[in-house]
């Protein structure tokens, strides 16, 4: 950024010094170019992002079932309904369980993979790619593979074949609530899909650590291993660690694909987005309730993100 700003400033200064005849014209041309480039995105942003948000806010105050042009104003009734709807509250609990499972596991796994790949002497590029490739896979495709092939509930599912080898009964992975084996399916599919991406972030950060620090530590008597990792590597990864935690939490908030494709709208594994989808865009078409729920959810996400920022000191992470 600095690189592009500096010459422009210099040019402007030069123009002023030369008493350039038509600085206004040039500026106008610049403005034209600005709008030329910005307008398509701005229009798209307004039309497809801000307008729906505003419209959604409007709908949340109306009885809007099966129509987005409602006429019956209901005040805060939709908000009251959503906040007292046990199914919506349950969906928030489902999400919380999901976040508690997926965020730390993703963090630990991607960090571990990064450290290992970073230490590998041969075929580093191969391992890096091999771990990263799942990121390119679609959630829908992966969910179907998980559902129909790996965690198929009948005896010829891969996981059940393994259990059978050890003499266990087949497990109906997606519909066993006690113990809740469906979490294994849901968590592992996302873990497989996203860990490689976070691994790359950690890997980049690891390679940015000045090797002299390790050398100095070695000179001071620290042996390579856990102690070095704990006292040097991990603290230096702080900005990346904070980013990974935030990004994976936000991604968890947006969870929809794997839940919907693995379990449709099953009562026991229905995160807020799946519930709201079913309410507003599924067969119920209740846009009023759905919008109220979406805005409540947005408020919750905003609050939690602010709190998380305070706790982890996202602003200080750049230090």
């Amino acid at each position: 950024m600095a690189g592009t700003v500096a010459p422009a400033t210099t040019r402007a200064a030069a123009r002023t010094a030369d008493q350039a005849p038509a600085p206004g014209r040039r500026l106008k041309g610049g403005r034209g170019a600005f709008w030329l480039f910005v307008t398509p995105f701005l229009v798209g942003l307004l039309l497809f992002v801000y307008l729906p948000i505003v419209w959604s806010a409007v709908l949340s105050f109306f009885n809007a079932q099966g129509t987005v042009w409602p006429t019956e104003f209901v005040g805060l009734a939709n908000y009251a309904t959503m906040l007292t709807d046990p199914a919506f509250i349950n969906s928030l609990i489902t999400f919380t369980v999901f976040a508690v499972l997926i965020v730390p596991i993703t963090f630990a796994l991607s960090l571990a993979m990064a450290v290992i790949v970073n230490r590998v002497r041969v075929a580093k590029a191969f391992f890096r790619s091999a771990f990263f490739i799942p990121t390119a896979c679609s959630y829908v495709v992966a969910s179907l593979i998980w559902k129909m092939s790996i965690f198929n509930g009948v005896r010829y599912g891969l996981a059940n074949q393994v259990l059978r080898f050890f003499g266990f009964e087949p497990v109906a992975w997606l519909s066993t609530l006690d113990p809740p084996t469906y979490w294994i399916v849901i968590v592992t599919v996302r873990l497989w899909l996203q860990s490689g991406f976070y691994m790359i972030l950690f890997l980049a950060a690891l390679q940015n650590i000045n090797p002299e620090l390790y050398e100095a530590a070695y000179v001071d008597g620290a042996k390579p291993g856990w102690k070095i990792f704990r006292d040097i590597t991990f603290p230096l990864l702080r900005p990346t660690s904070v980013s990974v935690l935030l990004l994976s939490l936000i991604a968890a908030y947006q969870a929809f694909d794997e839940f919907y494709n693995l379990l449709r709208t099953a009562e026991y594994a229905r995160p807020p987005l799946v519930y709201l989808y079913n309410l507003a865009l599924g067969t119920q078409q209740n846009f009023g309730l759905g919008s109220a729920g979406a805005l409540i959810l947005a408020a919750i996400i905003a609050i939690i993100t602010v709190i998380q920022g305070r706790i982890f000191g996202f602003d200080r992470a750049e230090d």
Binding site: V68, G153, G157, L174, S175, N261, T283, Q285
Partner: protein
């Protein structure tokens, strides 16, 4: 697409039991099926009108081609078929609300379609042949006395079984839910499970949610729009079915769900909750003599009632179509007048009961074997859904059942909460 049976969904008439997990992608087909918007804008000859017609994805081979063939034979408009895999109802409802919906379509009547002005009344289409329909079919196709849906096909759903498996265990009669539970346990051995009712039936009962209620002598809603079941009786049967759910005699997590006959055909289960549409598919593998059928058994021997779900599909005309009259004319041509194509649709792929009584009477394929048995059981025990039963009510009931069966929740407490929610939905209708 040719071998699409694994990805098909079948739906109860009006009931949103599709809430059960499906092995299909979310509906994500193209949105290009709105022929009406590009159709001849006023004044042109009738044949220049373009209509679009939507179907859910039927599983039987040849159905899509048949639908296209019927449409192509219609001369008064150019009809384009959209064959929609995945979550048909969600795609349809969003298509209708957003104005990108079809001109004519199949679906399940629900009051919300009428309340939001999305469908037109079709009384005039059957005025000449009204007597040829079963009055109960017309009731379940009407709201406030107006016919909004044309019965297209009737799909009885019940329990089909392998005769060989049952006779090997000496099981002859399954009259009560207790009989069903013990039969399922007896029929379970090694790699064969006793009963398949859906991939997550151990938590939500799969296809048996409605039947569980009907087996107590109840219905979802009464004719005067009140909750039609007794909470105490339904609680009792759900407690029984909870033991079935936990008994390890249910087939779970299969590749295809209950509406596909593969599980029974492959010997993964001995009995399967299934629709009559699958009879040809089952007979092909097990032989027509190899399969039998019985209704969902009575909740108990004293005041319970056996139940068959009388499902099916209905034809509609989109009120927001640019060519309502043309779409009505096409719908009348295909689903009222055109007995030949109706017969083809009902008998040459999966089996369905034709709603026209005259046609059903001469449907030879439905007059022998297990198909005839299915038709008779439907006549004796069939319970059609009420169009007043909305998806919101279904979600409330389905969630309650899931908590009772899957999470051991207190049945009366959960059902009372569901009833409260259903009543609040009913209050909105007034």
């Amino acid at each position: 697409m040719a071998n699409a049976s694994a990805f098909t969904r079948r739906r109860l008439l009006g009931g949103a039991l599709g809430a059960a997990a499906l092995g299909t992608l979310a509906a994500c087909g193209s949105n290009s099926g709105t022929g009406s918007q590009t159709g001849g804008g006023g004044g042109g000859s009738a044949s220049s009108v373009a209509l679009s017609q939507w179907y859910h994805q039927y599983g039987e081979a040849g159905t899509q081609e048949a639908a296209k063939k019927y449409a192509a034979a219609y001369t008064d408009a150019k009809v384009t078929i959209q064959w929609i895999p995945g979550d048909y109802d969600a795609k349809l409802t969003s298509g209708l609300s957003s104005g990108s919906g079809p001109d004519a379509f199949e679906g399940h009547l629900s009051r919300s379609l009428v309340a939001s002005g999305q469908i037109v009344a079709l009384d005039d289409l059957i005025a000449d042949v009204k007597d040829d329909y079963d009055p109960s079919d017309l009731v379940s196709s009407s709201i406030d006395g107006k016919l909004y849906a044309l019965p297209m096909i009737i799909d009885p759903q019940m329990i089909y079984f392998s005769k060989e498996a049952l006779s090997a265990k000496g099981i002859t009669a399954i009259a009560t839910v207790d009989d069903l539970i013990s039969a399922a346990a007896e029929l379970t051995s090694g790699d064969v499970k006793g009963l398949f009712a859906g991939n997550t039936a151990n938590v939500d009962l799969g296809g048996m949610q409605g039947p569980a209620i009907f087996s107590t002598g109840g219905t979802f809603l009464t004719e005067d729009k009140k909750v039609g079941f007794d909470v105490a009786k339904v609680s009792d049967v759900l407690v029984k079915l909870r033991t079935l759910a936990q008994s390890k005699s249910l087939l779970l997590g299969n590749d295809t769900d209950w509406w596909d006959p593969t599980a029974l055909n492959d010997g993964l289960c001995a009995m399967q909750w299934q629709g009559m549409w699958a009879v040809p598919g089952m007979a092909e593998v097990l032989g027509d003599d190899g399969i039998g059928a019985f209704p969902f058994p009575a909740a108990n021997a004293t005041d319970g009632k056996p139940a068959v779900v009388k499902g099916g599909w209905q034809a509609f005309v989109n009120a927001k179509s640019a060519h309502v009259d043309e779409a009505k004319a096409f719908t009348k041509w295909l689903w009222v007048d055109n007995l030949e194509d109706q017969e083809d649709w009902c008998l040459n792929y999966g089996f369905h009961i034709p709603p026209r009584k005259s046609l059903a009477a001469k449907a030879e394929k439905l007059q022998s074997g297990v198909a005839a048995e299915s038709v008779k059981l439907n006549t004796d025990h069939g319970i059609a859904n009420s169009p007043e039963w909305t998806p919101a009510m279904q979600t409330a009931l389905s969630d309650a059942v899931t908590r009772i069966i899957g999470k051991n929740a207190d049945p009366e407490k959960e059902l009372n909460a569901a009833v409260k929610k259903i009543n609040s939905e009913l209050a909105k209708i007034g």
